[in-house]
Every structure is written in C-alpha cells, then in structure tokens.
C-alpha cells in the first residue's frame, strides 16, 4: 500500500507541467482572480472617497481625500435604508424557510417508491421545466387573480419552489435515507408526518443546508419580483437590491421617504456618487464574507444535481 502510494505520488510529481508553464498558468489565474475581486475593492474605495476628490479626479483607486461622509449620510437615513435592509433580511429568512419546506416535502413524497400518485406528481413538477406561461400571463395571474401586487408574498412565493431543487432533494432522499429505517418506523406505527419531520429531516441536514443556501442567496439578490410587483406608491416595501436600482438616476427615493428632517445644507452637500457606492457595499459585503465558508456546500449541490433521477 505505502509503496504503491509512493509510486503514484512519484509519478504524479514527474507528470507535472514544467515550471515555466506553471508560472504562466499561475499568473493567468492570479489575474483572473484579481479581475473577479477588484470591482468589489474599487467600489469600497469609491464609497470612502470624498465628494471633492470624485469631482476632481473621478473614480479612482487612489482618491485625493478619504471620507466617511457617505456612511454618515446613510446613517442619517437609517430609517429608510434600515427598513430596506430588514425587508431584504426578512424575505431571505421567510423565503428560505418556506422554500425549504415546499421543496423538501415534495422531494420526500417523490422519493417514496410505493406512493400511488408518484408518477403523476413527477409529471406535475416536470412539465413546468419544459413549458412556462411566460412573463405576461404570470404577471397578470399574480396581480389580478392571486392579488399579490404590493404584498411581501409577491417577493417570496413566485421563486420559492424550483423543480430542480425538488429533483436534487428527491435524489438525495433516495440515495441516503435507508428504506429499512422508514419501514421499521412504519411498523412502529409512525405516520408519514412523523417519519418526515422526525427521521428524514434530521438525517438530511447537509442536503437541506445546500438547498437552503441556494435559496437564501437567490432571495438576498432578488430585485426582479420587487420591480414587477411593488409599485412606487409602496416604496417602504422595497428590498435593498431594488432600492439600489431605483437610485440609479437620482437619490430622491432616499430623501423623500425619510421621516427625519434633513437640513437643506446637508441635502445640497449630498455626496451622491459615494452614497450609491456605499449602498452597493452594504449589499455586497455580507455575501462576500459569507460565501467562502459555504462554497463547499454549493459545489456539493452542483454535483448532486448532476446525478440523473
């Protein structure tokens, strides 16, 4: 065994690319990594640049003068920004919980081989992967029939369920939850509800964590539903991402919604450019800090998804 390993590692060592090629490849990957990360750093620097510096030399990696005016300004508008932040956090949490429940229950039911309606339900979740009603009829149904317009449900429900997540979870339940466990629980008189909540959920936490992460990143980043279903008369319901989109042209949104009196003088000296970038920073920093820790769950999610069901 040991000898075998030695041989393998020796040959792998021998089979490596040459040092100059390795240096070239390393440089390529270092530049790609920088291209991926630099915009985030750039935006952070802009958010800490003074308005005068931006006025004089534009956006720069080396501002003439640093300043925290943008963040002070946002702090003064904390009722508006804080509220949007809470809306974002709220839809992320509630959406993830509802999404996990809806996807995993269906995934579990489809994993039960002797369920009478199994084929029918498989078709039910499968057809929407091929054919959808499209934006117009979804929009009209959601607003006119389901009356979701200007409600938080509009930001949560339309993206809670995905046939892809259901298939991933079904495959996971089929391969890792032993049938004998479920059979023996049934013999002990447990109902399917008990089996699902007391047995299946606790031993499937890794898969649920993966899907939960997919869901929570999707909710945190979502703006499309707010753009469709929340009208400008209900700006207090905007999540942070959509606030960011609304202030692309002007910052009025922020000032007109604040309960706080903002002195005329401060309004005039509004550091508009850096304020926008400061909001970008508030949106991006939680993700940037969180995702390296969760990366391995994402990768495992990608690989479970590759298994055909």
């Amino acid at each position: 065994m040991a000898k075998d390993n030695l041989f393998s590692s020796g040959i792998t060592r021998f089979n490596r690319i040459s040092t100059p090629v390795n240096i070239l490849f390393s440089l390529i990957f270092i530049s790609l990594a920088l291209i991926a990360v630099i915009p985030v750093i750039f935006v952070i620097i802009i958010s800490f640049s003074s308005a005068e510096s931006i006025q004089r030399i534009g956006y720069s990696f080396f501002p003439q003068e640093w300043s925290i005016d943008a963040y002070v300004y946002l702090w003064n508008l904390r009722d508006v920004i804080g509220r949007s932040f809470l809306v974002s956090v709220g839809i992320t949490i509630v959406g993830t919980v509802i999404g996990l429940f809806l996807n995993s229950t269906m995934g579990y039911v489809l994993s039960r081989k002797n369920f009478v309606l199994r084929n029918f339900f498989t078709k039910l979740i499968f057809i929407p992967m091929l054919f959808s009603g499209g934006l117009v009829s979804s929009y009209l149904i959601n607003t006119q029939v389901l009356k979701l317009g200007n409600t938080y449900w509009a930001l949560i429900l339309p993206m809670a369920v995905s046939s892809f997540y259901i298939i991933v979870l079904r495959t996971f339940f089929q391969t890792t939850v032993p049938d004998s466990l479920i059979e023996s629980a049934k013999i002990d008189g447990a109902s399917q509800f008990t089996i699902y909540f007391k047995i299946v959920v606790p031993i499937s936490l890794p898969a649920l964590a993966t899907i939960g992460l997919f869901l929570s990143f999707a909710y945190w980043n979502s703006w499309f539903l707010a753009m469709l279903y929340i009208q400008s008369t209900h700006q207090h319901m905007y999540p942070l991402q959509y606030v960011l989109m609304s202030i692309e042209r002007n910052l009025q949104f922020l000032t007109q919604n604040s309960q706080f009196m903002i002195p005329e003088e401060a309004l005039r000296r509004l550091p508009a450019e850096s304020v926008r970038m400061a909001i970008v920073v508030i949106v991006v920093v939680p993700i940037t800090l969180a995702y390296p820790f969760f990366q391995k769950y994402f990768i495992s999610g990608l690989t479970i998804g590759a298994i055909k069901g």
């Binding site: 809806l102 039911v109 369920f115 309606l117 057809i127 054919f131 009603g133 499209g134 994402f298 590759a306």
Partner: protein
C-alpha cells in the same frame, strides 16, 4: 384483470404532505400556462369581472397581435439579439471554462488553485444590479476609470453608454466574467473524477502533457460537455434579463444591440402597457423554448440515453 389502485392511509398522508407544493404548482405554473391564450385576444380588463372572466370575454383576434408585433422593426431585432448572443455564449461557456478547469487542475500549488477558484466564484454570487454599478465605475463618461485612464494617456474620452459598437463585447465579457467560476467548478469536478492510472499509463508510453489532455481529459469530459451544450441549446430563446436590462442602464442609443426578447416583453408590458405585443412575444418565446428543449433532449437521448434530461 384491471389493476385497482388501493388508496391506503399512507398514500393519503403522503398526498397531504405534498399538497402545499401541488397547490403552488397549480397557482404559479399551471394557471399561467392557460393564461397564454391572451396572445390571441384583445385583452381588456372588464370593470366588474375578474381576470379570468375578462380573459374569456375579451375579443378573439387570432394572429393579429403577432402580425402587429412583426410589423414593428423591434421583432427582428429582439429575435436576432437573443439568438446571436446565446450562440456566442453557448460556445464560449464551454470552451473557456473547460480550458480553465484543465489549466487550474495542473497548477503545482493546490493552495493557489483553491484561492483563485474561490475568488473567481465571487461574481456568481452578485446580482446584476450590483454589477451594473461596478461597470458604471469603469465606464462612466466623466468619472469612470477607463476615461480617466484615456485622459492620462492623452486619448479622447469615449461616451461608453452612447456607442452601440462596444456593447456586444462588453456584455459578452460580463457574461463570461460572472459565469467563469461556476463553469470551471462543474468541469473541475469531472476532471478530478478521472482515474489517475490512465495518465500514468500514458506517461509510461511517453506521452506529452498536451497529448494527455487531447487523448484522455477531453474524451473523458465529452459526456458532460455534450449535456451542457445541449441544455444550453434548449434555452436559446431565454436570456439573462438583468444582464441586458440593468447593465446598459436603459440607454436609448444602445437598444439595437441590447434589447432581447425578455427585455422587450418586460418593457412592452410595464412601460408601453402594450399587452398585445408583449403577450405575443412571450408566447413565441414559450413555444420556441418548448420545441428547442424537447428537440435537444431527443438528440441527447439518441447519442447517450443516460445523459438525457427525461
């Protein structure tokens, strides 16, 4: 004898567990599927009838909505843009991530590979709204970094958001930038699954590294490349709304090169309030999408039954 299904207590319990999700599918997937007939109607919301009654009572106009849509120059542009961008994306989404995955698997330092991979994954987790601000920081006419650089070099500054000719490249670059980490991880997972003894045997036969890639790695990746290719063909009528709507900042002069079916459907629905045009375009998108995805799957099943989606 006819098989009789006995609906046991267990079946009932499983049905109840699945019920919320079934209701979700009916409300959010199947109701809109029937709503698609709106494309053949002159839809007018009736004051005291609900949406469904209004839809039924609206005048049936046959293919008029489609005729009017194709009478506008927009129809040609949105279909051309959607198909052209997707054709380019489909090819590059395979070539570049596969090349990167093979290259990163060869790096001597595993630690460097891991760090670079993590960094390259970051754009995948950012929304297009956020990315549009990144782009603006570089391309803004008066404050953007690129024009500052041009000024320092003594070149004339460029009005990026007014010049259509740059945008196919900008949008393609951003698409690749956002997807490179994700694509690389998918192919890297397959590469790490390849049996190492194949490479050892090749080495003993005196193969070069390039020959190993050509005769071992690429053939081993062929199934997953085929699946990814055909799946993306199946989505050739769908575009990433955020990329085409948020990044160009809705700039008028760019419309010819940035407007795709999805953007048009949204704008016709919300901006112009033209349900006829947008429902006709959305209908075509759904139907063509259905045809391409079933055809694509049919081809996969011919090539390799195990890789097909259904």
């Amino acid at each position: 004898m006819r098989r009789r299904y006995r609906f046991s207590k267990e079946d009932l319990e499983l049905l109840l567990i699945a019920l919320p999700t079934v209701v979700w599918y009916i409300l959010f997937c199947y109701l809109p599927m029937f709503g698609i007939i709106i494309a053949f109607k002159q839809f007018r919301p009736l004051p005291d009838a609900g949406f469904i009654m209004s839809l039924i009572k609206s005048e049936f106009v046959g293919f008029d909505n489609f005729k009017f849509l194709f009478a506008t120059p927009d129809a040609w542009i949105i279909f051309r843009n959607t198909l052209a961008y997707n054709a380019v994306f489909i090819v590059l989404d395979i070539v570049i991530p596969v090349a990167l995955a093979i290259m990163i698997s060869q790096l001597h330092s595993q630690k460097l590979a891991k760090v670079c991979q993590t960094a390259m994954f970051l754009p995948h987790f950012l929304s297009w709204v956020v990315v549009s601000y990144f782009v603006f920081a570089f391309l803004s006419v008066d404050k953007g970094l690129l024009n500052q650089l041009y000024k320092a070099l003594g070149w004339e500054s460029v009005e990026w958001y007014m010049q259509p000719r740059y945008w196919p490249y900008i949008l393609t670059f951003l698409h690749l930038w956002k997807g490179m980490g994700y694509g690389m991880v998918v192919y890297l997972a397959s590469i790490s699954g390849i049996d190492i003894s194949l490479y050892e045997a090749a080495l003993i036969d005196g193969s070069t590294k390039w020959q190993q890639v050509k005769y071992i790695t690429l053939p081993m990746l062929k199934p997953i490349i085929t699946i990814m290719f055909i799946l993306s063909i199946g989505h050739i009528f769908t575009t990433d709304f955020g990329l085409f709507y948020n990044i160009p900042r809705n700039s008028g002069p760019l419309i010819n090169v940035t407007q795709t079916i999805d953007v048009y459907v949204y704008k016709a629905l919300m901006g112009m309030n033209n349900i006829g045009f947008s429902s006709a375009a959305a209908f075509l998108q759904s139907i063509f999408g259905f045809i391409t995805i079933t055809t694509a799957n049919w081809i996969v099943r011919k090539i390799d039954p195990n890789s097909s989606l259904f």
